[in-house]
């Protein structure tokens, strides 16, 4: 994985000192809270309902064992013993003291980590495919391109006061595991018929109160112009994105209001100009970065079979492991969704256990997934049982990847100052209600947001739940048919909302109807797409 040189390290170290100085100026009263807010946000520090929350960047979701261990230590030293992995492949700590924030950043800097641009109206942490480097279907590892974007977007002088936050994702396979088209810019690395590598640009996707699927504005930008094209897309947005209404300030609104063709025309004009400015890093820089993402030293001739004699282990293998491009290896997802647990939470000790397992069994590398789980991407099949036994002993062997218990949920009203309703208790109740029935129901992606900002990706859930405030009480809207990936679709609301108990019952009526009507090996989503909303609605509301 990528390692800092003295330049990268200097940037992060300088940032720690800058932030320390910003906190000092705030505490001494040189700047107001209004003026301090964007500064702390650009360091990932939010003031939440009960305390400060610090969001730490995990670039494209990839971590070393030492970095993961540090995340566990920070959970114990500065938080209440927990870390919360997020849909942006980052980690958040919910109980932080302002006076200690700079010390945490200093600790992070010792392992080449930071909280730069994890919030604020700037280019956020770039996300990617959690199976990068392991997936059989990728044309290249997407992470070098994401790292190139990380460096370009870090402290970008022109784009640090955008109309609104800006999220980018990079993938390199036709199967989209990063919800790429639901980002402000989604890039798919593609190969032309002539074998040239390029970047397809999808611009103007997003969730929030106006969910939109990004249209493709350029199917092939030569790879040695990707940064220049990104700069053009951002400049048009920075100049013309709406600033009169924060709910209409995302780039998706600009692309929608201008129309894809006019937005594209403006980007292409800006691109033609910027090509004269020589702002693109040389290909030698991309090659340098690629060197860090070369395949690890896979052993050849190792057994390609898994001993399935332990039924609990076999179930977990079937549910949580996916094929690897290298014979004898497999990619493992560690579910952070135990029955009744808080989605994405792990204790400091669990985080360190995962770090140790990565060191022993997966070339010292881990990934955070946008579904709030952890991946060990390169595990030898011969080691799988030993790995599972350690996970099982530490409450990390829940065999429910992509099933109804593998819920995405935002922090909701338990932590977040923006939320209208709680998300976590709903996730816990659903997880408990369906415990033991997950195999029967099969693949079902359920996602919960506690407000219209949609941090829990409810629009993209096969079943989506949105918490709203209705006359002072929490109310939950149900939607069906959302999906991320190559066949991205947005969920449709079923009808009137439900209270806390009612929403769990409604989910059960929907899944019962699915089980009674599925054909062959249809997933919930397939049955919904075949039958449409009407019969589901009738089953839910009677």
């Amino acid at each position: 994985m990528y390692q800092y040189d003295t330049y990268d390290q200097a940037m992060v170290d300088t940032r720690v000192e800058e932030f320390r100085d910003q906190v000092r100026r705030r505490l001494e009263g040189h700047i107001t809270e209004d003026q301090f807010k964007p500064l702390r946000l650009m360091n990932g520090l939010y003031l939440q309902l009960h305390a400060y929350m610090l969001r730490v960047a995990v670039p494209y979701g990839t971590l070393s064992g030492a970095q993961m261990r540090m995340l566990g230590d920070i959970a114990d030293k500065y938080d209440r013993g927990y870390g919360h992995f997020t849909t942006r492949q980052n980690i958040q700590y919910n109980w932080i003291k302002l006076e200690e924030a700079a010390d945490i950043l200093a600790d992070l800097a010792t392992v080449e980590m930071h909280a730069i641009q994890t919030s604020g109206n700037c280019i956020r942490n770039t996300t990617s495919d959690q199976y990068a480097g392991a997936a059989a279907d990728e044309i290249v590892d997407p992470r070098p391109y994401a790292e190139l974007i990380r460096q370009w977007s870090t402290f970008h002088p022109e784009f640090s006061f955008l109309p609104r936050k800006f999220k980018m994702a990079v993938i390199a396979s036709d199967t989209d595991r990063a919800a790429m088209r639901l980002h402000d810019i989604g890039i798919q690395i593609v190969k032309s018929a002539a074998g040239e590598i390029g970047a397809a640009f999808y611009v103007g996707g997003g969730m929030g109160r106006t969910p939109m699927i990004a249209p493709c504005i350029n199917e092939f930008v030569p790879i040695d112009q990707m940064i220049t094209y990104s700069e053009a897309a951002l400049r048009v947005y920075n100049r013309h994105g709406r600033r009169d209404n924060k709910y209409k300030a995302r780039i998706k609104i600009l692309v929608h209001e201008l129309g894809k063709d006019e937005y594209t025309r403006q980007v292409e004009a800006e691109f033609a100009h910027l090509l004269t400015q020589n702002i693109e890093p040389p290909l030698a820089e991309l090659e340098r970065i690629k060197g860090f993402f070369a395949d690890p030293a896979f052993e050849v001739g190792v057994p390609d079979e898994v001993d399935r004699s332990d039924p609990d282990f076999a179930l977990w293998v079937d549910n949580n492991c996916v094929p690897h491009k290298q014979p004898g290896y497999i990619a493992v997802t560690i579910s952070l969704k135990p029955v009744g647990g808080i989605p994405g939470d792990a204790t400091g000790e669990q985080i360190r256990v995962m770090a140790d397992l990565a060191a022993r069994y997966s070339f010292d590398e881990l990934r955070v997934t946008h579904t709030q789980n952890i991946v060990l991407a390169h595990v030898k099949k011969a080691d799988l049982y030993a790995l599972w036994q350690v996970l099982d002993a530490n409450g990390l062997s829940t065999p429910n990847l992509d099933q109804i218990g593998d819920i995405i949920a935002c922090p909701g009203l338990d932590y977040c100052s923006l939320a209208n309703a709680r998300s976590i208790p709903i996730a816990q109740k659903i997880s408990q209600r369906f415990a033991g029935r997950e195999q029967e129901i099969g693949e079902l992606k359920l996602k919960i947001s506690g407000c219209i900002n949609a941090c829990g990706h409810h629009h993209a859930g096969h079943i989506g739940i949105l918490g709203v405030d209705r006359k002072g009480t929490e109310n939950y809207q149900l939607s069906l048919g959302g999906c991320e990936g190559a066949d991205t679709s947005l969920g449709q609301i079923t009808g009137p909302g439900f209270d806390e108990e009612g929403i769990v019952d409604a989910v059960q009526r929907a899944t019962d109807f699915y089980l009674a009507n599925k054909q062959d090996s249809e997933r919930f989503l397939d049955t919904y797409r075949r039958l449409g909303m009407a019969p589901f609605k009738e089953a839910i509301y009677g």
Binding site: Y7, D21, R25, P157, S160, F161, H273, N278, P281, R288
Partner: protein, 147 residues
């Protein structure tokens, strides 16, 4: 008009107040113009030869359009004074400098020591702009094409 607190030029400052972009087109003798966030900096490009001062207004610090305006002017070869005015904060100075601003007239005067620290803090940069500083990638690949 707020006073210029920081200036990184040796020439004589232009005393004229900047006229609006609309008025500028008609006043062929005007040498100073003021850009509001919604103005298109490219409207000035035909007139760059006679402009000695462009004021770019930041009515609120969070409105970042002026950063693009500045870069567009510099990328087009403008060499006159580019002055940021309005709600300027210490932590924006370095970004503004990189975008081509060489004079700063904040509504509220900034602490000189804090400002100096902000201008000087980052010894390295990841992106090239027209300010002439070599980005990190150029230093990494000194001697190679485009590096």
């Amino acid at each position: 008009m707020a006073e210029v607190q920081f200036r990184f030029r040796d020439d004589e400052p232009v005393a004229d107040p900047g006229v609006t972009v609309d008025a500028f087109g008609d006043q062929t003798n005007a040498a100073a113009v003021r850009l509001e966030p919604g103005d298109d900096a490219r409207d000035l490009l035909p007139h760059l030869a006679r402009i000695k001062l462009v004021e770019v207004n930041f009515p609120v610090f969070g409105d970042g359009r002026g950063y693009s305006s500045a870069r567009i002017l510099r990328e087009a070869g403008y060499t006159g004074e580019l002055r940021a005015v309005g709600e300027l904060l210490v932590d924006q100075l370095a970004y503004m400098r990189r975008c081509g601003f060489d004079a700063f007239a904040p509504d509220s005067a900034l602490d000189p020591a804090d400002a100096k620290a902000a201008f000087d803090r980052y010894g390295e940069v990841y992106q090239p702009t027209t300010d002439g500083r070599a980005p990190i990638w150029a230093k990494r690949h000194a001697g190679t094409a485009n590096g």
